[in-house]
Amino acid sequence: MKIELKSYCRMTNNALILNGKDISVAHSEGENRSWLDDIYRSHKMQYLKFFKMDNLCKAGFLAAELIGNDIGWDKTVVKNDVAVVCFNRSSSLDDDMNYQQTIRDSGNYFPSPSIFVYTLANIVTGEIAIRNKIAGETSFYIMENFSSKRILEAIEDIFANPSIKGLLCGWTEYFDQNCDILMMYLERNKGLKTNITENIIKKIYN
């Protein structure tokens, strides 16, 4: 089985890299400035639901969007043969803490459904699936640290299913203003010479 890394996006608090190329944007000034919103605006994306998302979903969405544009995905076509598998360390803890604020004290108790809905790590895979009409598998796993071993195992297992053509797979960590994303798009390719390996995954993450 040959699996090719077609495109990847690496995003941290101050770096934005697409296929090895720096495509970072300027941080805007101001109290409510958000690097994620800066990326959205600078890359002229148009998807208003973005502003409803929590930070984890925003970060994962942006990486998927940049990859989707890079590989020329038609967002109107349903993709039954594409899967999305993500991993991270902190699950949805960033949004969990926001939700906890809404129920903290009984005098000011206003549990918010629009915050609660993001208190699940796998919502980011759902947001990416909705945006790109990806109707294959979506899965989310939590691990202490980035593990190229576990990520490669997931890649191999997804492509063990012959009906899967492509996989959007990555590490989507966002907690307490720390953004750490590696999103990869992989495709089955019989004629390929270099298969995806743990070393490639490690190299593009570091």
Partner: protein, 397 residues
């Protein structure tokens, strides 16, 4: 996912590997063993009850809660360091330990992997944490402590895929076994309730003020529940399978690509998951469908659409939510185990709480315990994030 078949055809292996269940356990308000839980379900018992002023929530709610004293008492028979673990971890360890008992498996062996399924883990520590280190809020940390309790050194896998986690974890286990990475996989699902979880579902207006009524025309929402459950799978070639074992036939996960908190009206993702899971099995062999059946208006309608569209409208369907409540990350494991016992006993359990079926596609809700000699069942589950899963389990002749 068709692992067994793919590997056997692609790599031209001579034998076909089968995934089979080695052992299991359920800990819930209905009992501390699978058998106790199964007998309670058969007798139509439920521990769903009204709770007031629990978890500091003023609005009353109906739920199925674990007895903390009983957990502590049972845990004390295992270990004298119970105070080092949270309720979630204790319940999960207790469940795994009961499943491992008499299984012949040495959990400290390198050929054993632990997979942990939970949606919110120790999230209650966000409210108050004066006993545990701050890392304890992390799901991987709980999983690590559970595996370490059994002296297992492999980094455990944590599946957190909203409500489908319990089934997704079993599908992941099957893949790991087919890939021959491990010989045994201990799949544990656990969820405990807290102000965080209950208030969130209340804010969604998703909770019923009475015991839930899955697939009923007057259903008003779901009930939450606490549970831990463990199922241990292993792999063997067909000729060496233990007699009468339960075999994991196939499983699939598909996204609706429609909405993050509402299911597809047409049941698109679930229909696709059923189609994939059923690919090599004849509809005639399906004894029953154990649905997700949360008793929310949208979920049950969506499931009926997916079941009907696939042409399974005459296959008996049950939901176990009125016995256990929705146990979130544990649900897919609890319900699979109960269904395995029913399959082995040639019966179809009744869907408690359904007075008069009323879903958008007319399907066959099973309202009385029935006999059946068919050899497989279909497990369905869906959740936030648009995820759906379907899984076929069958019994060996």
């Amino acid at each position: 996912m068709d692992c067994a078949r793919i590997f056997s055809s692609v790599e031209k292996r001579e034998r076909i590997d089968m995934i089979y269940k080695v052992s299991d356990n359920i800990i819930s308000a209905l009992g501390f063993s699978s058998q106790e839980n199964y007998q309670a379900v058969k007798a139509g018992k439920s521990q769903l009850q009204l709770y007031e002023n629990v978890f500091g929530i003023s609005e009353p709610f109906v739920a199925s809660l674990l007895d903390n004293h009983k957990i502590d008492k049972e845990f004390a028979t295992l270990s004298n360091i119970g105070e080092k673990y949270t309720k979630l971890e204790k319940t999960a360890i207790l469940s795994a330990s009961k499943a491992l008992e008499n299984s012949g498996i040495d959990p400290s062996n390198d050929n054993v992997l632990f997979i942990f399924s939970t949606t919110k883990g120790n999230v209650e520590l966000l409210e108050r944490n004066d006993r545990f280190e701050s890392e304890r809020i992390h799901l991987w940390r709980s999983a690590e402590l559970i595996a370490q309790f059994f002296k297992n050194k492999n980094e455990p896998i944590v599946v957190s895929n909203a409500c489908i986690s319990g089934v997704a974890a079993q599908i992941t286990a099957a893949r790991y076994l087919i890939a021959k990475r491990y010989q045994y996989i201990v799949v544990i699902g656990a969820e405990v309730l807290s102000k965080f979880i209950v208030s969130g579902f209340q804010s969604f207006k998703a909770l019923s003020s009475e015991r839930c009524s899955p697939f009923d025309r007057n259903r008003t929402g779901l009930n939450l529940g606490e549970a831990a459950a463990t199922v241990i799978y292993s792999v063997s070639d067909m000729d060496n399978l233990p007699p009468k074992s339960i075999i994991f036939e196939n499983g699939a996960i598909c996204n609706d690509a429609n909405h993050i908190s509402g299911p597809s009206r047409t049941g698109e993702g679930l229909f696709n998951a059923i189609s994939k899971a059923m690919r090599h099995i004849d509809k005639e062999n399906i004894s029953f469908i154990n649905a997700h059946g949360t008793a929310t208006s949208y979920n049950d309608d969506m499931e009926s659409m997916a079941i009907g569209r696939y042409g399974l409208e005459n296959v008996p369907v049950n939901s176990l939510k009125a016995y256990f409540g929705h146990t979130l990350g544990a649900a897919g494991i609890v319900e699979t185990i109960i269904s395995m016992y029913a399959l082995q006993e040639n019966i179809i359990l009744k869907s408690l709480g359904t007075e008069e079926a009323g879903v958008v596609y007319p399907i066959t809700i099973n309202r009385e315990i029935m006999k059946s000699d068919k050899n497989a069942f279909l497990k369905l589950i869906s959740g936030f994030g648009g995820s759906n899963a379907a899984m076929i389990l069958k019994k060996n002749k």
